[in-house]
């Protein structure tokens, strides 16, 4: 099977999974009372007083099948309800808040992966020596730390005590410039890049300074995953025949490790990319809440807590649906990359 055929087949396979994701969210909606469910169909704050009307229009008292038809057609039109905590429709709020989250992920993901691979390789090469013990201990500590407590501790040390890295997304000067001065153009929504494009490098620096602590939290929490997989696959590669052959050929240790063992050991790391995506999606909910960054993660957390004990149902379900879809697509991309690198996969 060629790569093209494989990709087409794999893309077709996600349709049932996506449908399942949508069905599961629908099943969750069925746990609410009709009045709570009605909030999923509201488009503006004005409609919040017309709950009974909505229950009637969308047949919320009728059988599950009728309800699913209505709900699904609304979903296809992109209507996920109105979020009271964001004071905007769910879709709109999501697009508004996505860049802040995306920026956080864009910075922490490459550092996590590269540093994780480096530490994993070092750990395997120096097996049962000091670097191995240190990295393994750090990994198990990273596994056991509650994300929110780590964030709080980092903030206590680096903000409350030392005053180096403040929380939130940017300082007052930067936010005044962006929202008040009127000379700011949004190009990408990512403030670090837009700062440079606007010719205001100080904004980029300010945003970067604010991002140090949340990025650090995400890295510490997720790096253990990459490190462990890299270590074990590197250990396996180091025992393979071609590595012994390379050593016998008289190559230096650096060459053997970098050119022969590490390249082959990298493939299994991709299998955890899906888990890493999940880790990041969960991680942003906590880190954005701790560091007060206005992204989708904090929005979901606030929505779950709700205002006055009433949870913002459309926001939480919309966010859950979003993460489910992101996760499915992340796995799709991983599978395709895997098939591209390792032709044997396509034959299975």
């Amino acid at each position: 099977m060629g790569l093209g055929t494989y990709i087409v087949r794999r893309v077709l396979l996600i349709i049932p999974t996506l449908l399942g994701v949508v069905l599961l969210i629908f099943a969750v909606t069925q746990m609410f009372t009709p009045a709570q469910r009605a909030t999923l169909y509201i488009r503006s704050e004005r409609q919040a007083n017309q709950i009974n009307e909505i229950i009637r229009i969308y047949h919320l008292n009728e059988s599950v099948l009728v309800q699913f038809k209505d709900w699904f057609s609304q979903l296809l039109q992109g209507n996920l309800g109105y979020s009271l905590t964001a004071a905007a429709p769910v879709m709109q709020a999501m697009f508004q808040k996505l860049p802040a989250t995306f920026e956080l992920v864009v910075w922490s993901l490459p550092i996590t992966v590269l540093l994780g691979i480096y530490l994993g390789v070092q750990s395997a090469v120096h097996r049962d020596k000091l670097p191995d013990h240190v990295t393994r201990t750090l990994a198990i500590i990273g596994y056991s730390l509650p994300t929110f407590w780590l964030g709080i501790m980092l903030m206590a040390i680096f903000f409350a005590d030392l005053g180096w890295f403040p929380p939130e997304r940017m300082g007052t000067a930067a936010s005044t410039f962006i929202y008040v001065s009127g000379s700011w153009h949004t190009y990408t929504g990512l403030l670090t890049i837009d700062g440079l494009l606007n010719g205001q490098p100080w904004i980029t620096l300010d945003v970067l300074r604010h991002m140090v602590l949340p990025t650090m939290t995400l890295i510490i929490i997720n790096i253990a995953l990459i490190m462990r997989v890299m270590r074990s696959s590197m250990l396996e590669a180091l025992g393979k025949g071609y590595v012994i052959a390379a050593r016998a050929k008289g190559l230096s240790n650096v060459q053997v490790v970098n050119k022969h063992a590490r390249r082959n050991a990298l493939i299994p790391v991709m299998t955890v990319a899906g888990l890493l995506t999940a880790g990041l999606l969960t991680g942003v909910v906590i880190t954005e809440t701790v560091f007060n960054i206005d992204g989708i993660g904090r929005w979901a957390a606030i929505a779950a807590g709700g205002s006055g004990g009433v949870p913002d149902i459309p926001a939480v379900l919309g966010f859950a649906l979003f993460t489910g879809i992101v996760y499915v697509f992340a796995n799709l991309i991983v599978d395709i990359m895997y098939a591209y690198i390792d032709p044997r996969i396509r034959l299975m």
Binding site: W149, A301, Y327
Partner: protein, 389 residues
């Protein structure tokens, strides 16, 4: 095998299972990390058991942290206790200080250990039980039932655990009317038809399918013929915040076990000893319970011990987000959540209120670390490909 011959084996020390157990114990003693894990969990278990002695409770619900006044700001460790009843018990000082609202941190940490064990053990036990049944069905019988179960686990696993748990916690109603009559009748019909099917010489998956068919028929009759779910014996139950967390985490957790157990069963199903026991005429249940499970349970045990830590972390995160344990409940996550306002309070000394967030944090961290160390040690010791090396 008679009990007597088993005893003889035991006395002579030739019982293989006992040998394996001894070997495992020896391995645990040899690895310093696993000793650390065992010690940490042992200490926490002792704290949980001795909680009423270490921190006597004065309220009707011991899981609510005890109030000593209603101080608006936290008070440092060593502050004398003003409540005369507690003083008479010989407990005079707030060892770990007082959190906002006069809540004693020491009390919360001690009883929080019980909460942590309760959450971890219950959620993992439910996950294991459901995972065992569904994993065995999927792995042993394969076919349509395998396909349906696996697609379902795919979907649940397509969500990050915390996020799905968040949605479930807010979706679960506070008052839940459960029709126990309906559930009981459904179980009776299901099991009854399986027994009838077996006595009618149906083999393999077919008695189960017959039971399933009866179940579906019963639900359809109850819903559509008798009216929208026809009530038989309805009993309302009240779900506390913590019960919701338990249910949500259990619902999120079981598919992982199902997949691991199914994979293990697929691995051993084709082994000669399974074929042999089939040839001798053992029943499916006996083959699964006596021949397949003992040979495939190890990875699940490892997973469960690692999972207790992970479940406690998830529950703490839910508490931190304000949808887990209620304020004042003896739960470490909730205590840290309560302490958030005191991290940068603007006080001259930034560490002035350190005890409100560092002490409960250390408790969570140590608890999870203990389980992770134990799980890691189990992984190396119980893995059959590594254990004799």
């Amino acid at each position: 095998m008679s009990i007597k011959s088993r005893w003889t084996e035991f006395r002579l020390g030739i019982r293989p299972a006992l040998d394996e157990l001894k070997f495992t114990m020896r391995q645990i003693r040899k690895s310093p990390l696993s000793i650390a894990g065992v010690v940490i969990i042992g200490i926490f278990a002792a704290i949980a058991i001795l909680a009423p002695v270490l921190a006597p409770s004065i309220t009707s619900d011991p899981y609510m942290m005890f109030h000593d006044g209603y101080s608006l700001i936290p008070l440092p460790p060593g502050t004398p206790i003003s409540d005369s009843y507690i003083r008479n018990l010989g407990w005079t000082v707030h060892y770990f200080g007082v959190a906002q609202g006069g809540l004693d941190i020491y009390y919360g940490c001690i009883w929080g250990t019980r909460t942590a064990f309760r959450i971890g053990v219950i959620v993992v036990a439910i996950g294991l039980a459901v995972g065992l049944v569904t994993g065995c069905l999927a792995g042993y019988y394969g076919g349509a039932i395998d396909e349906v179960l696996m697609r379902f686990t795919d979907i649940v696993l397509a969500f990050p655990g915390l996020i799905l748990a968040m949605a479930l916690v807010i979706a679960l109603p506070k008052e839940w009317s459960i029709d126990f009559g309906f559930i009981g009748l459904a179980i009776v019909i299901f099991l009854g038809l399986i027994i009838v099917g077996r006595s009618k010489k149906l083999t393999g998956i077919w008695p189960f399918m017959l039971g399933l068919l009866g179940l579906v028929a019963f639900v359809i009759v109850d819903t559509y013929a008798l009216g929208t779910p026809y009530p038989i014996f309805v009993q309302g139950i009240t779900l506390g915040s913590l019960d919701k967390v338990l249910i949500a985490l259990a619902l999120v957790g079981w598919p992982g076990y199902t997949r691991v157990i199914r994979g293990e069963i697929l691995r051993v199903r084709q082994e000669d000893y399974v074929e042999a026991s089939k040839a001798v005429g053992c029943s499916d249940l006996r083959i699964i319970a006596r021949h397949i499970l003992p040979n495939s349970i190890y990875p699940v045990v490892i997973m469960a011990s690692l999972d207790i830590g992970a479940v406690v972390l998830l529950a703490a995160a839910l508490s931190f987000l304000g949808i887990g344990a209620p304020i004042g409940f003896a739960d470490w996550g909730q205590m840290i959540s309560l302490a958030r306002n005191w991290i940068y309070s603007g006080a001259a000394n930034p560490w002035q209120y350190w005890y409100t967030y560092i002490i409960p944090g250390v408790f969570i961290f140590a608890f999870v670390l203990g389980w992770n160390l134990l799980g890691d040690a189990f992984r190396d010791i119980l893995d059959p490909t590594l254990r004799r090396k």
